[in-house]
């Protein structure tokens, strides 16, 4: 069969599967380009899915030396698990879902690397041995690192950074030893003990790398793990001399890296600080920095807040992770609809690091049928707070903290934040006065213009909507 489809070229044989990979690569790039606009994104996803189908069919096309029992089992089981993972998981759980899929990706690549080592260890040349080593290392650390990230997001593991003495020293040491083991394998490929030792060390390294990272830094970590998963796939492309793997790996690795850079920038922190800073563990030291505020907190009832919102002609809603936790996106939309009916202009201000992954808030609001032309980035909307009547902060904390602008001693100083304090009135929906993840006091909460509305965000919003309706 293959002989019929393959045709000869003077530089060598061109195989059917290689043509399939070429077509698939083109479709992946076309698909990725579709994602640059919401109108073309779904079509782009279709192209990419088609590309994947072409690549898989090209790979399993009958040829000598291939049998299907394990392939069939793998594809069937994977599909049965994959369908509910795609269709059933709620949007609020998206960060957990993405972290979990990075761990699957890492494991798949690491296992393929182990298989390659098992089967080829004597005849592999230096280059392929090195690529296999890095493939296994990156795959293994992505696997355990992503499981750690999943555990922290899901609340199975403590969200606060876990630290122990000499932590960074040990982590960097483990990394150096793992890389050294890969280099050693290049020259002594038969040293199986070193290879499996390196595999184990890389698994441990994944745990060590994510252990000191706090919940609010998860956006950066998820992006970096995305990047590692991509690089691991690219390394496997070098092992197999397979360009479609290299291309997809490069796209995935590049995407994760760009997003990680954007997230770090949005927190005014460096990669090194995010990875090794154990941000948020020094909560006591942090809150001792800016003088503990003794100013009185203005508390407002739902009815008082509704009264002010009713007379507002412009409202900006600032959602944060709290909105996801309370699953309040639909309640937010209901309130916004009513305010719009009332003649107000309602917009949403989305900070790049609001939530636990890039774009988290956008997806939740889209789920609640909020049109995306009402969603605005930090840069687009920040100058408009000054001429806005009411700001509604729903479960956001650090991204609205004026300390980032005013208090050089604050750990978040320099982070770009929303100018909520410039609006005429600010309502903060919050469960209690507990400070955010880093234990940083939020000056906005005691600002004279601010009124705190305590309680579960979803219930508060529903009550507000009710109060507004009654007022009509």
């Amino acid at each position: 069969m293959n002989a019929l489809l393959a045709f000869q070229h003077e530089a060598g044989e061109v195989r059917f599967d290689h043509i399939a990979y070429l077509v698939a690569s083109f479709l992946f790039l076309l698909g990725l380009r579709g994602l640059t606009h919401p109108d073309t994104a779904r079509r782009g996803t279709m192209f990419a899915a088609l590309g994947m189908l072409v690549a898989v069919v090209g790979t399993i096309w009958p040829r000598p030396g291939m049998s299907y029992e394990y392939i069939a089992v793998g594809l069937a089981v994977g599909t049965v698990i994959g369908i509910p993972m795609g269709l059933k998981i709620p949007m609020t759980k998206m960060p957990e879902r993405i972290a979990l899929s990075h761990s699957f990706g890492g494991l798949a690549v690491a296992l393929v690397g182990v298989v390659e080592y098992l089967m080829d260890k004597t005849q592999g040349d230096k280059f392929h041995m090195g690529a296999t080593g890095f493939e296994v290392m990156l795959g293994a650390l992505t696997f355990t690192g992503s499981i750690m990230a999943f555990g922290k997001l899901q609340g199975i593991l403590p969200g606060k950074p876990s630290t122990f003495p000499f932590q960074n020293f040990i982590t960097v040491g483990a990394l150096i030893v793992a890389v050294a083991a890969v280099v050693y394998m290049i020259f002594v490929p038969t040293a199986g003990v070193i290879f499996y030792g390196m595999f184990g060390l890389a698994l441990l390294l994944g745990v060590l790398l994510v252990l000191p990272i706090g919940g609010a830094d998860m956006p950066v970590v998820i992006c970096l793990l995305n990047s590692y998963a991509g690089l691991a796939a690219a390394a496997s492309g070098f092992v197999f001399d397979n360009n479609v793997l290299i291309i997809c790996g490069a796209l995935d690795g590049g995407s994760g890296f760009i997003l990680a850079m954007l997230m770090s920038k949005a927190m005014n922190r460096s990669f090194a600080n995010v990875l090794f800073g154990a941000f948020g563990s020094d909560a006591v030291a942090a809150s001792a920095g800016p003088a503990k505020s003794t100013a009185a907190v203005n508390e407002a009832t739902v009815e008082e807040a509704a009264e002010v919102l009713k007379s507002s002609s412009s409202v900006i809603i600032v959602p944060g992770y709290g909105m996801a936790v309370a699953q309040a996106q639909h309640a937010v939309r209901d309130l916004a609809n009513l305010l719009e009916k009332n003649g107000a202009r309602v917009r949403y201000a989305i900070h790049p690091v609001a939530g636990r992954m890039p774009g988290h808030m956008n997806v939740l609001l889209a789920e609640a049928n909020v049109p995306y032309d009402q969603l605005f980035d930090l840069d687009q909307i920040n100058d408009d707070f000054a001429n806005t009547d009411s700001v509604l902060v729903v479960g956001a904390n650090d991204v609205v903290n004026p300390a980032a602008k005013n208090s050089p001693g604050s750990p978040i100083f320099g982070m770009p934040v929303f100018n909520c304090d410039q609006a005429k009135a600010v309502f903060v929906l919050k469960r209690s006065m507990n400070p955010g993840f880093a234990g940083i006091e939020n000056e906005l909460f005691v600002h004279p213009k601010t009124m705190m509305v305590f309680g579960d965000a979803k219930q508060t919003l529903t009550k507000m909507t009710g109060a507004l309706k009654e007022g009509h």
């Binding site: 392939i71 994959g82 092992v239 997003l259």
Partner: protein
């Protein structure tokens, strides 16, 4: 030479990826992650080779089979969830494109 060719492909794909991904709006960053996750399931190609090769040992093929399962979950689940998210993004009714 094949090694260097691979490096060329990596460099060009990485460069192109940077150019395209930098244009993806923040609005779509979560679908972007789900999407890249789905296409990185292309490692399925390598897993299928390992699971299907009759010349490989039983251990190797079973490991390959587990890798096929993991990669398939990402491919199937990844594309489904990307589409499910993208379906939700709509603009205000009546607004001009």
């Amino acid at each position: 030479m094949t090694i260097l060719l691979g490096a060329y492909v990596f460099m060009l794909a990485g460069f192109l990826g940077f150019q395209i991904i930098a244009k993806v709006p923040a609005l779509l960053h979560t679908p972007l992650m789900a999407f890249t996750n789905a296409i990185s399931g292309i490692s399925l190609v390598a897993s299928l080779h390992a699971a299907g090769a009759t010349g490989y040992s039983l251990t190797a093929r079973i490991l390959g089979c587990v890798a096929v399962i993991c990669a398939t979950i990402n491919v199937v689940g990844g594309f489904l969830i990307t589409d499910r998210m993208l379906k939700m993004f709509r603009r205000k009714p009546g607004a001009k494109p």
